[in-house]
Amino acid sequence: MSRYVIVGNGTAAIGCVEGIRFVDPLGKITVLSKENHPAYCRPLISYFLEDKTDPKKMLYRAETFYEDNGCEVLYNVSATALDPETKTLTLDSGDTLSYDKICVATGSSPFVPPMENLENVKNRFSFLTLDDAKALKKAVKPSSRVLIIGAGLIGLKCAEGLRAITKNITVCDLADHVLSSILDAKDAAFVQKHLEANDLKFTLHNSVAKFKGNTAIMQNGDEIPFDILVTAVGVRANWGLVKDAGGACGRAITVNEKMETSLEDVYAAGDCTESTDISDSLIKVMALMPNAYMQGYTAGINMAGGEKVFDNAIPMNSIGFFGLHMMTAGSRKGQMKTDIQKDSIKRFYKEDGKLIGFVLIGDVQNAGVYTNILRNQIPIKSLSEFNIKKSPSMATYDEEFRRKTLESVVK
């Protein structure tokens, strides 16, 4: 009987369990969880702040998941060292575990750039885990003045969640526009206007030079007093186990299409890995929940002796703030076509007759049609229509694909 160990208990880990069990109903699976919770939906922590969900509803799978899948879960446990020669894993308790196949799904940790006197700020929070969110929710009062460092996806979702509690929220970022990882400056300005209409305040192209008690002295000389500080600048892959064991790493753990690392019988999945973005062929950390699941599932199948590749990863995001939805996928390169309406922006990026990226703000209906065209590199010429002013639909595809989809069972 095979012995599987999964280091981590997030989305990739759950995908891995489901992948293993798809092939092998019997092998022993041990899941190591650093947090003291069953797997939950991390991106939902901002919804928890505004009471749109609760820890029970946030569970990623049914309460009986581990039992149903015959998994042993060790909570409050971290792995400290991996030895691929002896196939053993050392835990922070000093115990060791042996494995036949192991999946490293250790995720990422908040990265906080050095800021003078930061360590003396009392009410300081990260925003990555459920425990972070619980602590933050407890600390913030309707009268609290909140300063959030980072106007990216995490910082702004945090701001939206906190807006349900307090009106006094300022977000700063070194970048000159919000959501710089997914939007260009023009589109970001459109979104920022909407955020400001919902009472968020911004100071961009600006960073904290130092803290004087509960006041941030900014690079541009402004002083921002606050009661609560949230640092949401970015994250770094938790790659230590693989890197220290001599495994190949770039900016995160290097994996192939089967989710194998360079170490024998060691797989990795999720936010701790980097892989190829097929929209521009560059190697990237695509720390997204859907990718984490697919990677974990792929790793699991291969670990159990099946065969599966995940070879069409693209960066993609679906996110909304105060009712304004936006979806982005692929790259913002190549030839751009734009449709701008009063309440919406659509941008499409093409290269060699193929769609390589899109940005949709405000009107996101049926966006999955575009994602499918992008991901499967379907030539735009072969489509029945590609009218950027209209929402896409099954009518976008050619007749053969449409008939096959509507008349037979699809995968």
Binding site: P290, A367, G368, M394, L406, V409, V410
Partner: protein
């Protein structure tokens, strides 16, 4: 398992399937009360162009991308039927970003709604199929590859 399939040459583009769907899922006994003067959020949609129309609803894929991508654990499979736990959905719309067929929509609650083959309402069997005047929508078993 039985699924909904569409014969596009038989579709009249009458949109009755949309109304029957919205009514079936309204939980109301009166069609007038369910539909009159309200925005409706059917789980099947007539798409098409100048020369052809066809109804599109969830394909209940054997390996559904929406379930794998769901960030809230709301989308799941029950005996092959792709279902959504509206209580868990937060309306992030990631499923709409990944569904190749445009089969999911956001309803008035802000959460996502989709075809569950009328397994969760009092019809028990798809209302779109029963009400299609030209048999363009059928509910039957076809082989899985």
């Amino acid at each position: 398992m039985k699924r909904v399939f569409v014969k596009e040459e038989w579709c009249l583009g009458c949109h009755l399937c949309e109304y029957n769907c919205a009514y079936a899922n309204s939980g109301l006994s009166s069609m007038v009360k369910a539909l009159q003067g309200k925005p409706i959020f059917p789980r099947i949609h007539v798409n098409g162009n100048d020369s052809v129309t066809f109804a599109v609803s969830c394909r209940h894929c054997t390996d559904p991308l929406c379930v794998k991508s769901c960030i809230s654990g709301a989308l799941h499979r029950e005996n092959g039927v792709v279902c959504i736990d509206k209580n868990k959905c937060v309306g992030c719309l990631t499923c709409m970003l990944v569904c190749p067929y445009g089969a999911l929509v956001q309803d008035e609650t802000g959460t996502v709604t989709k075809c569950e083959l009328c397994t969760k309402n009092s019809c028990g069997t798809p209302a779109c199929v029963a009400g299609c005047p030209n048999n363009a929508i059928v509910f039957e078993e076809r082989c899985e590859e």
